[in-house]
Symmetry: C2
Subunit: 239 residues, 2 copies
Amino acid sequence: MNAGIVYGVGVGPGDPSLLTVRAAEILRLVDAVVAPVAAEGRRSLALEIARPYITPGCRLITPVLPMTEDSEVLTDSWRNAAELLAGEARAGGGAAFVTLGDPMLYSTWGYVAGALMSIAPEIRRETVPGVMAMAACAASAGVPLAQGREPLLIWPDEPSILQRTALSTVPNVVFMKAARHMEQLAELAEDSGRTAVAVRSVGRPGEALTHDLLSWVGQTDYFTTVLMRRPVEQEGEGR
Amino acid sequence: MNAGIVYGVGVGPGDPSLLTVRAAEILRLVDAVVAPVAAEGRRSLALEIARPYITPGCRLITPVLPMTEDSEVLTDSWRNAAELLAGEARAGGGAAFVTLGDPMLYSTWGYVAGALMSIAPEIRRETVPGVMAMAACAASAGVPLAQGREPLLIWPDEPSILQRTALSTVPNVVFMKAARHMEQLAELAEDSGRTAVAVRSVGRPGEALTHDLLSWVGQTDYFTTVLMRRPVEQEGEGR
Protein backbone atom coordinates (compact mmCIF):
# COMPACT_ATOMS: atom_id res chain seq x y z
CA MET A 1 0.00 0.00 0.00
CA ASN A 2 2.89 2.35 0.77
CA ALA A 3 5.36 0.61 -1.53
CA GLY A 4 8.01 2.88 -2.87
CA ILE A 5 7.15 5.87 -0.74
CA VAL A 6 9.17 7.94 1.68
CA TYR A 7 7.53 10.37 4.09
CA GLY A 8 9.18 13.39 5.64
CA VAL A 9 7.17 13.67 8.84
CA GLY A 10 7.16 16.69 11.15
CA VAL A 11 6.58 15.53 14.73
CA GLY A 12 5.99 19.01 16.12
CA PRO A 13 7.81 20.83 18.92
CA GLY A 14 7.84 18.31 21.77
CA ASP A 15 4.48 17.17 23.11
CA PRO A 16 3.47 13.92 21.34
CA SER A 17 -0.16 15.10 21.27
CA LEU A 18 0.93 17.86 18.89
CA LEU A 19 1.64 15.42 16.08
CA THR A 20 -0.95 15.73 13.34
CA VAL A 21 -3.54 13.01 12.82
CA ARG A 22 -1.85 12.33 9.46
CA ALA A 23 1.62 11.99 10.99
CA ALA A 24 0.30 9.57 13.62
CA GLU A 25 -1.40 7.51 10.90
CA ILE A 26 1.77 7.31 8.79
CA LEU A 27 3.91 6.29 11.76
CA ARG A 28 1.47 3.44 12.46
CA LEU A 29 1.66 2.26 8.82
CA VAL A 30 5.32 2.37 7.88
CA ASP A 31 7.79 -0.51 8.23
CA ALA A 32 10.73 1.73 9.08
CA VAL A 33 11.30 5.01 10.90
CA VAL A 34 14.53 6.85 10.17
CA ALA A 35 15.54 9.37 12.85
CA PRO A 36 18.81 11.25 12.53
CA VAL A 37 21.12 11.63 15.53
CA ALA A 38 23.91 14.17 16.02
CA ALA A 39 26.50 11.51 16.90
CA GLU A 40 26.80 7.72 17.39
CA GLY A 41 24.92 6.69 20.55
CA ARG A 42 23.06 10.00 20.94
CA ARG A 43 19.31 10.03 21.33
CA SER A 44 16.91 11.46 18.77
CA LEU A 45 14.39 13.86 20.28
CA ALA A 46 12.17 13.51 17.18
CA LEU A 47 12.10 9.73 17.69
CA GLU A 48 11.16 10.13 21.38
CA ILE A 49 8.26 12.39 20.43
CA ALA A 50 7.11 9.98 17.72
CA ARG A 51 7.50 6.84 19.83
CA PRO A 52 3.91 6.57 21.17
CA TYR A 53 2.71 6.13 17.57
CA ILE A 54 5.32 3.64 16.35
CA THR A 55 4.26 -0.02 16.21
CA PRO A 56 6.38 -2.73 17.91
CA GLY A 57 7.39 -4.35 14.60
CA CYS A 58 8.68 -1.15 13.04
CA ARG A 59 12.42 -0.91 12.27
CA LEU A 60 14.14 2.08 13.89
CA ILE A 61 17.19 3.41 12.06
CA THR A 62 19.27 6.27 13.47
CA PRO A 63 21.84 7.52 10.95
CA VAL A 64 24.33 10.14 12.10
CA LEU A 65 23.76 13.60 10.64
CA PRO A 66 26.60 15.48 12.31
CA MET A 67 26.37 19.12 13.39
CA THR A 68 29.18 20.49 11.27
CA GLU A 69 29.76 23.19 8.69
CA ASP A 70 31.93 20.85 6.57
CA SER A 71 29.86 20.65 3.40
CA GLU A 72 31.45 17.41 2.20
CA VAL A 73 30.68 15.62 5.47
CA LEU A 74 27.14 17.00 5.38
CA THR A 75 26.52 16.00 1.76
CA ASP A 76 27.75 12.48 2.52
CA SER A 77 25.49 12.20 5.58
CA TRP A 78 22.40 13.38 3.66
CA ARG A 79 23.18 10.91 0.89
CA ASN A 80 23.62 8.13 3.41
CA ALA A 81 20.24 8.90 5.01
CA ALA A 82 18.66 9.05 1.54
CA GLU A 83 20.13 5.64 0.67
CA LEU A 84 18.73 4.12 3.86
CA LEU A 85 15.30 5.55 3.07
CA ALA A 86 15.47 4.37 -0.55
CA GLY A 87 16.42 0.87 0.59
CA GLU A 88 13.47 0.72 2.98
CA ALA A 89 11.04 2.11 0.41
CA ARG A 90 12.18 -0.40 -2.23
CA ALA A 91 11.65 -3.22 0.28
CA GLY A 92 8.01 -2.29 -0.04
CA GLY A 93 6.69 -1.04 3.27
CA GLY A 94 7.15 2.68 3.28
CA ALA A 95 9.62 4.62 5.38
CA ALA A 96 9.24 7.76 7.47
CA PHE A 97 12.02 10.27 8.13
CA VAL A 98 11.04 12.06 11.35
CA THR A 99 12.03 15.59 12.09
CA LEU A 100 11.30 18.10 14.88
CA GLY A 101 8.75 20.82 14.23
CA ASP A 102 7.99 21.24 10.53
CA PRO A 103 10.05 19.45 7.83
CA MET A 104 10.30 22.58 5.67
CA LEU A 105 11.63 24.98 8.32
CA TYR A 106 15.27 24.54 9.41
CA SER A 107 15.12 20.79 9.02
CA THR A 108 17.51 18.36 7.38
CA TRP A 109 14.54 16.88 5.51
CA GLY A 110 15.00 19.47 2.74
CA TYR A 111 18.54 18.23 2.12
CA VAL A 112 17.73 14.53 2.54
CA ALA A 113 14.74 14.82 0.19
CA GLY A 114 17.01 16.51 -2.35
CA ALA A 115 19.55 13.68 -2.08
CA LEU A 116 16.73 11.13 -2.39
CA MET A 117 15.49 12.81 -5.57
CA SER A 118 18.96 12.52 -7.15
CA ILE A 119 19.69 8.92 -6.21
CA ALA A 120 16.17 7.46 -6.52
CA PRO A 121 13.88 9.76 -8.51
CA GLU A 122 11.36 6.92 -8.97
CA ILE A 123 10.54 6.83 -5.26
CA ARG A 124 7.58 8.97 -4.26
CA ARG A 125 8.18 11.55 -1.54
CA GLU A 126 5.54 13.12 0.66
CA THR A 127 6.16 15.87 3.17
CA VAL A 128 3.81 15.93 6.17
CA PRO A 129 3.79 19.39 7.76
CA GLY A 130 4.09 19.77 11.51
CA VAL A 131 3.52 22.32 14.26
CA MET A 132 6.47 24.71 14.52
CA ALA A 133 8.21 25.33 17.85
CA MET A 134 7.40 29.05 17.72
CA ALA A 135 3.66 28.26 17.63
CA ALA A 136 3.92 26.16 20.79
CA CYS A 137 6.10 28.79 22.49
CA ALA A 138 3.55 31.52 21.68
CA ALA A 139 0.72 29.32 22.99
CA SER A 140 2.62 28.66 26.23
CA ALA A 141 3.49 32.32 26.71
CA GLY A 142 -0.01 33.49 25.73
CA VAL A 143 1.51 36.00 23.31
CA PRO A 144 0.57 36.21 19.61
CA LEU A 145 3.44 35.89 17.14
CA ALA A 146 1.86 38.50 14.85
CA GLN A 147 -1.57 40.01 14.32
CA GLY A 148 -3.35 41.95 11.61
CA ARG A 149 -0.86 43.41 9.16
CA GLU A 150 2.23 43.00 11.30
CA PRO A 151 5.10 41.21 9.58
CA LEU A 152 7.02 38.51 11.43
CA LEU A 153 10.72 37.77 11.10
CA ILE A 154 12.20 34.37 12.02
CA TRP A 155 15.86 34.76 12.92
CA PRO A 156 17.89 31.55 13.45
CA ASP A 157 21.32 33.24 13.49
CA GLU A 158 23.42 35.57 15.67
CA PRO A 159 21.23 38.49 16.79
CA SER A 160 24.14 40.84 16.08
CA ILE A 161 23.78 40.30 12.31
CA LEU A 162 20.20 41.57 12.41
CA GLN A 163 20.37 45.05 10.92
CA ARG A 164 18.58 47.95 12.53
CA THR A 165 16.85 48.73 9.23
CA ALA A 166 15.34 45.24 9.15
CA LEU A 167 14.35 45.48 12.79
CA SER A 168 12.57 48.78 12.20
CA THR A 169 10.56 47.16 9.41
CA VAL A 170 9.21 44.29 11.50
CA PRO A 171 7.52 44.68 14.87
CA ASN A 172 7.83 41.00 15.78
CA VAL A 173 10.86 38.72 15.71
CA VAL A 174 11.31 35.07 16.68
CA PHE A 175 14.88 34.18 17.65
CA MET A 176 15.57 30.46 17.46
CA LYS A 177 18.42 28.54 19.15
CA ALA A 178 18.76 31.64 21.30
CA ALA A 179 20.33 30.17 24.48
CA ARG A 180 23.81 31.58 23.83
CA HIS A 181 22.55 35.08 23.06
CA MET A 182 20.47 36.02 26.10
CA GLU A 183 22.53 39.09 27.01
CA GLN A 184 22.45 40.47 23.46
CA LEU A 185 18.74 39.77 23.16
CA ALA A 186 17.92 41.47 26.46
CA GLU A 187 19.79 44.54 25.26
CA LEU A 188 18.12 44.45 21.85
CA ALA A 189 14.66 44.24 23.44
CA GLU A 190 15.36 47.13 25.76
CA ASP A 191 16.92 49.36 23.09
CA SER A 192 14.08 48.79 20.67
CA GLY A 193 11.25 49.06 23.21
CA ARG A 194 10.08 45.51 22.61
CA THR A 195 8.66 43.02 25.07
CA ALA A 196 10.47 39.68 25.12
CA VAL A 197 9.73 36.24 26.44
CA ALA A 198 12.00 33.19 26.34
CA VAL A 199 10.72 29.62 26.30
CA ARG A 200 12.78 26.43 26.52
CA SER A 201 11.95 22.72 26.16
CA VAL A 202 8.41 23.61 25.11
CA GLY A 203 5.96 20.74 25.56
CA ARG A 204 8.55 18.55 27.28
CA PRO A 205 9.47 17.86 30.91
CA GLY A 206 11.47 20.86 32.04
CA GLU A 207 9.52 23.40 30.00
CA ALA A 208 10.24 26.85 31.36
CA LEU A 209 9.48 30.44 30.47
CA THR A 210 10.87 33.80 31.52
CA HIS A 211 10.34 37.48 30.78
CA ASP A 212 13.71 38.25 32.35
CA LEU A 213 16.15 37.16 29.65
CA LEU A 214 19.19 38.05 31.75
CA SER A 215 18.17 35.41 34.31
CA TRP A 216 18.87 32.79 31.64
CA VAL A 217 22.39 33.89 30.76
CA GLY A 218 24.50 30.74 30.95
CA GLN A 219 21.71 28.19 30.47
CA THR A 220 22.36 26.00 27.46
CA ASP A 221 19.11 24.34 26.32
CA TYR A 222 19.56 24.10 22.54
CA PHE A 223 15.83 24.54 21.98
CA THR A 224 15.42 27.99 23.49
CA THR A 225 13.23 30.42 21.60
CA VAL A 226 12.81 34.14 22.25
CA LEU A 227 9.67 35.93 21.05
CA MET A 228 10.08 39.67 20.70
CA ARG A 229 7.15 41.96 20.09
CA ARG A 230 6.58 45.66 19.83
CA PRO A 231 3.82 46.59 22.32
CA VAL A 232 0.44 46.92 20.67
CA GLU A 233 0.00 50.64 21.38
CA GLN A 234 3.00 51.34 19.17
CA GLU A 235 1.74 49.20 16.28
CA GLY A 236 2.13 50.73 12.88
CA GLU A 237 5.18 52.81 13.73
CA GLY A 238 8.25 52.14 11.65
CA ARG A 239 6.28 50.60 8.84
CA MET B 1 -13.88 17.61 33.59
CA ASN B 2 -13.46 20.64 31.32
CA ALA B 3 -15.61 22.92 33.44
CA GLY B 4 -14.63 26.52 33.16
CA ILE B 5 -12.19 26.12 30.33
CA VAL B 6 -11.99 27.69 26.89
CA TYR B 7 -9.70 26.34 24.21
CA GLY B 8 -8.32 28.29 21.28
CA VAL B 9 -7.84 25.49 18.77
CA GLY B 10 -5.82 25.78 15.56
CA VAL B 11 -7.34 23.48 12.93
CA GLY B 12 -4.45 23.79 10.50
CA PRO B 13 -4.48 24.96 6.89
CA GLY B 14 -7.27 22.92 5.28
CA ASP B 15 -6.87 19.16 5.29
CA PRO B 16 -8.70 17.74 8.35
CA SER B 17 -5.92 15.16 8.79
CA LEU B 18 -3.58 18.06 9.61
CA LEU B 19 -5.32 18.79 12.90
CA THR B 20 -3.17 17.76 15.84
CA VAL B 21 -4.07 14.73 17.92
CA ARG B 22 -4.69 17.15 20.82
CA ALA B 23 -7.03 19.37 18.77
CA ALA B 24 -9.03 16.33 17.64
CA GLU B 25 -9.29 15.14 21.25
CA ILE B 26 -10.52 18.53 22.49
CA LEU B 27 -13.13 18.80 19.74
CA ARG B 28 -14.48 15.39 20.74
CA LEU B 29 -14.71 16.46 24.41
CA VAL B 30 -16.22 19.95 24.37
CA ASP B 31 -19.92 20.77 24.58
CA ALA B 32 -19.68 23.79 22.29
CA VAL B 33 -17.63 24.85 19.28
CA VAL B 34 -17.49 28.54 18.49
CA ALA B 35 -16.50 29.34 14.91
CA PRO B 36 -16.43 32.96 13.72
CA VAL B 37 -17.94 33.90 10.35
CA ALA B 38 -17.30 37.05 8.33
CA ALA B 39 -21.01 37.86 7.96
CA GLU B 40 -24.44 36.47 8.89
CA GLY B 41 -25.12 33.29 6.89
CA ARG B 42 -21.54 32.86 5.70
CA ARG B 43 -19.76 29.56 6.20
CA SER B 44 -16.76 29.06 8.49
CA LEU B 45 -13.87 27.29 6.81
CA ALA B 46 -12.35 26.47 10.21
CA LEU B 47 -15.60 24.75 11.22
CA GLU B 48 -15.68 22.72 7.98
CA ILE B 49 -12.14 21.52 8.62
CA ALA B 50 -12.96 20.65 12.25
CA ARG B 51 -16.28 18.97 11.44
CA PRO B 52 -15.05 15.33 11.18
CA TYR B 53 -14.00 15.52 14.85
CA ILE B 54 -17.09 17.22 16.29
CA THR B 55 -19.62 14.96 18.05
CA PRO B 56 -23.31 15.06 17.07
CA GLY B 57 -24.45 16.54 20.42
CA CYS B 58 -22.02 19.45 20.32
CA ARG B 59 -23.47 22.98 20.04
CA LEU B 60 -22.17 24.96 17.05
CA ILE B 61 -22.13 28.74 17.50
CA THR B 62 -21.06 31.05 14.68
CA PRO B 63 -20.69 34.66 15.87
CA VAL B 64 -19.97 37.32 13.27
CA LEU B 65 -16.44 38.73 13.39
CA PRO B 66 -16.65 41.20 10.51
CA MET B 67 -13.73 42.00 8.20
CA THR B 68 -13.46 45.69 8.94
CA GLU B 69 -10.87 48.22 10.08
CA ASP B 70 -13.42 49.94 12.38
CA SER B 71 -11.83 49.34 15.77
CA GLU B 72 -15.06 49.88 17.71
CA VAL B 73 -16.96 47.31 15.65
CA LEU B 74 -14.03 44.90 16.02
CA THR B 75 -13.73 45.36 19.78
CA ASP B 76 -17.47 44.75 20.16
CA SER B 77 -17.32 41.59 18.06
CA TRP B 78 -14.36 40.17 20.02
CA ARG B 79 -16.17 40.93 23.27
CA ASN B 80 -19.31 39.26 21.97
CA ALA B 81 -17.38 36.12 21.02
CA ALA B 82 -15.68 36.16 24.43
CA GLU B 83 -19.06 36.40 26.17
CA LEU B 84 -20.39 33.44 24.22
CA LEU B 85 -17.33 31.41 25.17
CA ALA B 86 -17.55 32.46 28.81
CA GLY B 87 -21.24 31.47 28.91
CA GLU B 88 -20.46 28.04 27.51
CA ALA B 89 -17.52 27.50 29.83
CA ARG B 90 -19.57 28.49 32.89
CA ALA B 91 -22.27 26.02 31.83
CA GLY B 92 -19.61 23.45 32.60
CA GLY B 93 -18.71 21.54 29.48
CA GLY B 94 -15.79 23.36 27.95
CA ALA B 95 -15.83 25.38 24.75
CA ALA B 96 -13.50 25.49 21.76
CA PHE B 97 -12.91 28.54 19.59
CA VAL B 98 -11.69 27.17 16.25
CA THR B 99 -9.35 29.10 14.02
CA LEU B 100 -7.53 28.39 10.73
CA GLY B 101 -3.85 27.53 10.86
CA ASP B 102 -2.29 28.46 14.18
CA PRO B 103 -4.15 30.54 16.82
CA MET B 104 -1.15 32.78 17.50
CA LEU B 105 -0.42 33.81 13.90
CA TYR B 106 -2.81 36.28 12.25
CA SER B 107 -5.80 34.86 14.08
CA THR B 108 -8.64 36.56 15.92
CA TRP B 109 -7.98 34.20 18.84
CA GLY B 110 -5.39 36.65 20.21
CA TYR B 111 -8.04 39.39 20.44
CA VAL B 112 -10.84 37.12 21.67
CA ALA B 113 -8.57 35.59 24.34
CA GLY B 114 -7.68 39.13 25.46
CA ALA B 115 -11.37 40.06 25.72
CA LEU B 116 -12.06 36.84 27.61
CA MET B 117 -9.31 37.65 30.09
CA SER B 118 -10.87 41.05 30.83
CA ILE B 119 -14.49 39.92 31.19
CA ALA B 120 -13.91 36.53 32.83
CA PRO B 121 -10.39 36.23 34.26
CA GLU B 122 -11.43 33.20 36.33
CA ILE B 123 -11.98 31.06 33.25
CA ARG B 124 -8.97 28.99 32.21
CA ARG B 125 -7.72 29.48 28.67
CA GLU B 126 -5.60 27.02 26.69
CA THR B 127 -4.18 27.65 23.25
CA VAL B 128 -3.67 24.56 21.08
CA PRO B 129 -1.13 25.28 18.35
CA GLY B 130 -1.84 24.25 14.76
CA VAL B 131 -0.04 23.70 11.46
CA MET B 132 0.46 27.00 9.64
CA ALA B 133 -0.63 27.43 6.02
CA MET B 134 2.91 28.24 4.91
CA ALA B 135 4.11 24.83 6.15
CA ALA B 136 1.49 23.04 4.06
CA CYS B 137 2.25 25.24 1.03
CA ALA B 138 5.97 24.46 1.31
CA ALA B 139 5.20 20.73 1.62
CA SER B 140 2.98 20.84 -1.46
CA ALA B 141 5.52 22.81 -3.47
CA GLY B 142 8.44 20.69 -2.25
CA VAL B 143 10.36 23.85 -1.38
CA PRO B 144 11.86 24.55 2.07
CA LEU B 145 10.74 27.79 3.73
CA ALA B 146 14.23 28.34 5.15
CA GLN B 147 17.31 26.25 5.82
CA GLY B 148 20.43 26.51 7.96
CA ARG B 149 21.02 30.11 9.02
CA GLU B 150 18.67 31.73 6.54
CA PRO B 151 16.14 34.11 8.10
CA LEU B 152 12.50 33.98 7.01
CA LEU B 153 10.13 36.92 6.76
CA ILE B 154 6.34 36.51 6.88
CA TRP B 155 4.66 39.38 5.09
CA PRO B 156 0.84 39.67 5.36
CA ASP B 157 0.57 43.18 3.89
CA GLU B 158 1.01 45.01 0.56
CA PRO B 159 4.27 43.87 -1.04
CA SER B 160 4.98 47.49 -2.00
CA ILE B 161 5.58 48.43 1.66
CA LEU B 162 8.39 45.87 1.93
CA GLN B 163 11.56 47.92 1.91
CA ARG B 164 14.51 46.90 -0.22
CA THR B 165 16.77 47.02 2.82
CA ALA B 166 14.61 44.45 4.58
CA LEU B 167 14.46 42.32 1.45
CA SER B 168 18.24 42.33 1.16
CA THR B 169 18.50 41.07 4.74
CA VAL B 170 16.27 38.04 4.28
CA PRO B 171 16.65 35.49 1.49
CA ASN B 172 13.19 33.97 2.01
CA VAL B 173 9.81 35.67 2.23
CA VAL B 174 6.30 34.25 2.63
CA PHE B 175 3.58 36.54 1.28
CA MET B 176 0.15 35.77 2.71
CA LYS B 177 -3.24 36.76 1.27
CA ALA B 178 -1.31 37.43 -1.92
CA ALA B 179 -4.03 36.97 -4.57
CA ARG B 180 -4.40 40.69 -5.34
CA HIS B 181 -0.66 41.27 -5.68
CA MET B 182 0.44 38.74 -8.29
CA GLU B 183 1.81 41.30 -10.74
CA GLN B 184 3.82 43.13 -8.07
CA LEU B 185 5.10 39.85 -6.66
CA ALA B 186 6.16 38.55 -10.08
CA GLU B 187 8.12 41.77 -10.61
CA LEU B 188 9.65 41.64 -7.13
CA ALA B 189 10.80 38.04 -7.67
CA GLU B 190 12.36 38.85 -11.02
CA ASP B 191 14.06 42.06 -9.85
CA SER B 192 15.56 40.37 -6.79
CA GLY B 193 16.60 37.13 -8.51
CA ARG B 194 14.32 35.01 -6.34
CA THR B 195 12.37 31.91 -7.26
CA ALA B 196 8.66 32.11 -6.48
CA VAL B 197 5.81 29.66 -6.18
CA ALA B 198 2.16 30.44 -5.46
CA VAL B 199 -0.21 27.98 -3.78
CA ARG B 200 -3.93 28.39 -3.23
CA SER B 201 -6.57 26.41 -1.30
CA VAL B 202 -3.85 24.19 0.11
CA GLY B 203 -5.16 20.83 1.36
CA ARG B 204 -8.68 21.52 0.07
CA PRO B 205 -10.54 20.64 -3.13
CA GLY B 206 -9.26 23.06 -5.76
CA GLU B 207 -5.69 23.17 -4.43
CA ALA B 208 -3.46 24.60 -7.15
CA LEU B 209 0.14 25.68 -7.52
CA THR B 210 2.03 27.75 -10.07
CA HIS B 211 5.56 29.00 -10.68
CA ASP B 212 4.18 31.53 -13.17
CA LEU B 213 2.72 34.19 -10.90
CA LEU B 214 1.47 36.28 -13.81
CA SER B 215 -0.84 33.45 -14.88
CA TRP B 216 -2.78 34.03 -11.64
CA VAL B 217 -3.38 37.75 -12.08
CA GLY B 218 -7.11 38.23 -11.55
CA GLN B 219 -7.78 35.10 -9.50
CA THR B 220 -9.24 35.94 -6.12
CA ASP B 221 -8.76 33.00 -3.73
CA TYR B 222 -8.31 34.72 -0.34
CA PHE B 223 -5.98 31.97 0.84
CA THR B 224 -3.24 32.39 -1.71
CA THR B 225 0.33 32.20 -0.46
CA VAL B 226 3.50 33.05 -2.34
CA LEU B 227 6.82 31.55 -1.22
CA MET B 228 9.85 33.48 -2.43
CA ARG B 229 13.35 32.14 -2.07
CA ARG B 230 16.81 33.18 -3.11
CA PRO B 231 18.37 30.32 -5.07
CA VAL B 232 20.71 28.23 -2.93
CA GLU B 233 23.88 29.05 -4.91
CA GLN B 234 23.50 32.69 -3.88
CA GLU B 235 22.98 31.92 -0.19
CA GLY B 236 24.82 34.14 2.20
CA GLU B 237 24.90 37.19 -0.06
CA GLY B 238 23.34 40.29 1.34
CA ARG B 239 23.56 39.07 4.90
